[in-house]
Each structure stands twice: as C-alpha cells, then as structure tokens.
Symmetry: C7
Subunit: 96 residues, 7 copies
C-alpha cells in the first residue's frame, strides 16, 4: 500500500529513538520539544497559488528533514508508523 | 437519491471498522486519532480562485483516501452513512 | 412580500420534520447534527472577487439542498419560516 | 443635518415595533433574534478593492432591507434614532 | 506644533460635551455608546493597496465626522485634547 | 555599534520624561496611555507587497514621531535605551 | 551535519551569556525580554509571493542579528545549541 499525499503535504518516517514520557504525563521540559529528524517517503504535487498556478515543493523524496515534535498526523501504513505533515512544518533539510 | 457536493467538497464513504468509545466518553488515546480510510463517491466542481477562475479537484470519484477521524459532516443518504468534507481535509490518496 | 438576498446569500425553505429537543436543552447527540434538507426559494447575484468581478452562484432557485442544522438566520416572511444563508453553508445539491 | 456614510456603510431607519425585553435582561429566545426591517436613508460610495477600484453598493436609498437585530451602531440625528451599518450586515432587500 | 498623521489615519477634535461616568465605573447603558461628533484637523496621505498604489482618503480636513465613542487614541498637543484614528473608524460625514 | 532595522521596522529614541508607575503596578488611568514622542534613529528598507515589490517607508531618519506607549521592543545599544517598532505603530509625524 | 533552512527561515547561533531564571520560574521583569544577539549560520532560499515568485531574504550568512528572546525553535546540531527562526522574527542587523 502506498499513500500519495495531497497538495503541499508529505509523508515522513521518523528517525532515531523518541523518548516518550512514561505514563502519559506531559513534562514541560524544553529539551523534550526539540525538533525531530525524519526521512521523506513521499511528497505532494505542490500548493496552488491564489490564481491557480501549481508551485512544487522544495522538499523531495529521500530528504532527511527536521520538524517540530508535534507536527503532522500519525498514520499507520502496512504496520509502519508514519507522519503526514505540510511542507510548512518542515524546519530544514539535513545535509550530511 | 444523489448528492452533488458544492465547490471543493466531496462525499466519502468510510471503509473499515471504526472503533467507537462505548459510552460516548472521549478517550485521549493518540491511537484513536489515526486517520481513517474512505472511498470517494462524488466530488464538487472545484474551488474558485480570488479572480473567479475554477480550479478542479485533485481527488476524483473512486479514489481511496485518508482523512482525519473528525473531518467532515455526517450525512445519511438512502440509509447509508456518508461524509461530506472539503478536499483540504483529505490527507492523501491510497494507491494499492 | 418577496426577499431578494444580497451577494452570495440565498433563501431556503426547510423540508421534512425537524426534531426539536423538547424543553430547549441541547442534547449532544451527533445524530441531531445531521444536515437538513431545504428548497432554494431565491438566490443573490453572487460574490464579488477581490478585483470587483461578479461570480454567480452554483445553486439556483428550485434546487433541493443539504445544509448544516445551525446554518443561516431564521426569517419569517408572510407567516412562513424561511432561512437566509450564504452559499458556502450549502453542503450539496440533492439530485433525485 | 444629514450624514453621508463612508465606504460600504449605509444609514437605516428601523420599521415596525421592536419588542424589547423589559428590565434589560437578555432572553435567550430564538424568536427575539429574527431579522428586523428597515428603510435605507443613505448609502456610502462603495468599497475599494485591493487594487483601489471602487465597487458601488447593491443597496440604494429607499430600499426596504432585512438585517440582524444586533447589526450596526445606533445614531441619533435630529432626534431620530437611526442605524449605521455595513452593507454586509444586510441580509436581503424586501420587494413588495 | 502640528502632527501629520501617517497613512489612513486622521486627527479629530471632539465637538460637544462628553458625558463621563463619574467615578470611572463603566455603565452598560447603550445610550452611552452612541457615536460622537468631531472636526477633522489633519488627514494622512492614504492607504497603500497590496501592490503599492496609494489610495487617498475620503475624509478631508474640515469635515465634521461621526465616530464610535471608543475609537482612536487620545493625544494632547499644545494643551489640546485630540484623537488620532484610522479612517475606517469614521462612521459618516455630517453635512449640515 | 549600529542597528539596521529590517523591512518596515524603525529604531526610535524616546524624548521627554516617561512617568513610570512606582512599584510596577499597572494603573488603569487613560492619561497614562497617551502616545509618546520619539526621534527616529534608523529606518528599514520598506515592506514587500504581495508580488514582491518594495515599498519604502513614509517615516525617515530624524523625524519626530508619536507612538503608543506600549509599541515596539526595547533594545539597549551601547548603553542607550532605544525602541524597535514597525512603521504601522507610528501614529503621526510631529512638525514644529 | 549541516541544516538547510526552508523558505524564509534561518539558523542563528546565540552570542553572549543568556541569564536564565534559576528554578524555572518566569520572572516578569521587562529587562529579561530584551532582544538577544546572534550570528546567522544559514539562510533559506526565501519566501514565495502569492503568485509563486521567490523573494530572497534580506539577512545573509554571517550577519549579526537581534531577535526576541522567545523567537524560534531550539535545535541541537552536532552538540551545538542553535535556533531556527523566520526572517520576520529578526528585529535588525547589527553593524559594528
């Protein structure tokens, strides 16, 4: 199964271990709100301008990206936990 | 009876079993907010740009789509439970 | 007496029996928020774009429409209970 | 004394008797929120579009109009109670 | 000392006696919210449209205007209490 | 050290003595909210319109300006207390 | 590892010692909200106008900038604490 994100959305697979607060209590520790790293799995065709022109995305499949911890919506596809978010939620692209 | 959705709206038929919280209490479990799958039954003609141009939708009849659990408005047509939502509520198109 | 709605507004006459909560208490039952059916009695000339162009409405007199239960403003004209709403409050047109 | 309303504003004189809640207590009765009837006394020159073009109003002096009970600002001119409101507050024009 | 208001702002001198609530307590009496009369002392050059064009104001120096009681900012210039407000706060021009 | 403000921002040096509420308690006295006078020390290059054109500011270095008491952000540059604000926070230019 | 910020975002490295409130209690002292100084490490390609044109940033790599204390998102890259913010959060460029 494959998902094609609409418009300026993209699908991201989280990278690295995500420390979760055991017991579900939100811990107001700024360190926990640090951006997370992910791999772009699929991108939408882009955003329409006010007069209908299509503007492609800057982020492309395979990019490693940084995004806010609470960005996007969780999706489980074929047993894999992914995220669908808008390109505007991406803070930057990681170049190694 | 058939409904023709207006503008950038579409009619979606839910697919799969929807786990409901028995007793109507909202359970703050992130797993319950995972997107849902649906089949597009009808689409509107599109959205008007600021200068009146009509931009057709990316989603078309027959598409299998992902959308947020609380997206759209429930409609009962000929005894069938459907959803009317805007294309912007669609997260992605499922390609199998 | 006749009302000519302004801009993108239209006048709708409700169809079907409307279940009201006896005693005026709001019952948080999702079934009560299902869209309602109505007949379009009159439509405005349309909406102006940002540069002043007039865009006519998609809905026309005589259309049977679906709209949210709480859409629009109630008007009593010649003893008849009608609704004035914007076209954007119309979810879809019913084709039988 | 005469008032020339600015832009998309107009001056309206209420028609008909207005039921007021004796004692000033707001009674949450939907019947009390039904639109009111008025006579347009004066209209502004219109609204400017984003690029400075002037779009005249659809409502003109002498029109009988429907408007929400709480629309506009009360003005007392030469002892007469009038209302200054924007054209967007007008729900429709009454044609008899 | 003279003030040149910027953009779509204007300087207004109140006319007539202003009833103040003695003791500073706000009295929720609608009569107290009736518009006030003023004389326009100075006007700005106008508002820029989205593409940078300058649109002059409709109100000019010497106009007698109506404005909401709580519109604008009080300024004391050379011992005189004046008001700086935006043209959009002006309800109408008084023609006698 | 010199600061070059970005876009439609400007740097202002307060003129005149500023009455402060001793003890840090906010006194809800309208007289305390009267605009303040300042000298423009530096101005940005201007604001971009929606299609990318640059519109220069109306306020220029050396202008004496009026602004709201709580406008802008305090900056301490070389021991001097200055303010960085947007041109839109300037109420008017003082001409003596 | 290098981060390429998207659109109108930039990466800033704080300069100077940052006084933190020991114990995590927020101290409502205006002196604590004074802008902070930083060095621009990387800039995005710019912002898209409504019709899709790309407008480059005014701030460039190597600029020393002033920004609000609470602007941006903290990122830790290769053990170094950096900030990703939008150009609009930059108050001015420091020229020495």
């Amino acid at each position: 199964m494959k998902i094609r994100p609409l418009q300026d959305r993209l699908i991201v697979k989280r990278i690295g271990d995500e420390e979760k607060s055991k017991g579900g209590i939100i811990i107001p520790d700024t360190a926990k709100e640090k951006p997370m790293e992910g791999l772009v799995i699929a991108v939408g065709k882009g955003k329409r301008t006010d007069d209908g022109k299509l503007i492609g995305l800057d982020v492309k499949e395979g990019d490693r990206v940084l995004f806010g911890k609470y960005a996007g919506t969780d999706v489980k596809i074929d047993g894999e936990e992914l995220l669908i978010m808008r390109e505007d939620d991406i803070l930057g692209i990681i170049e190694k």
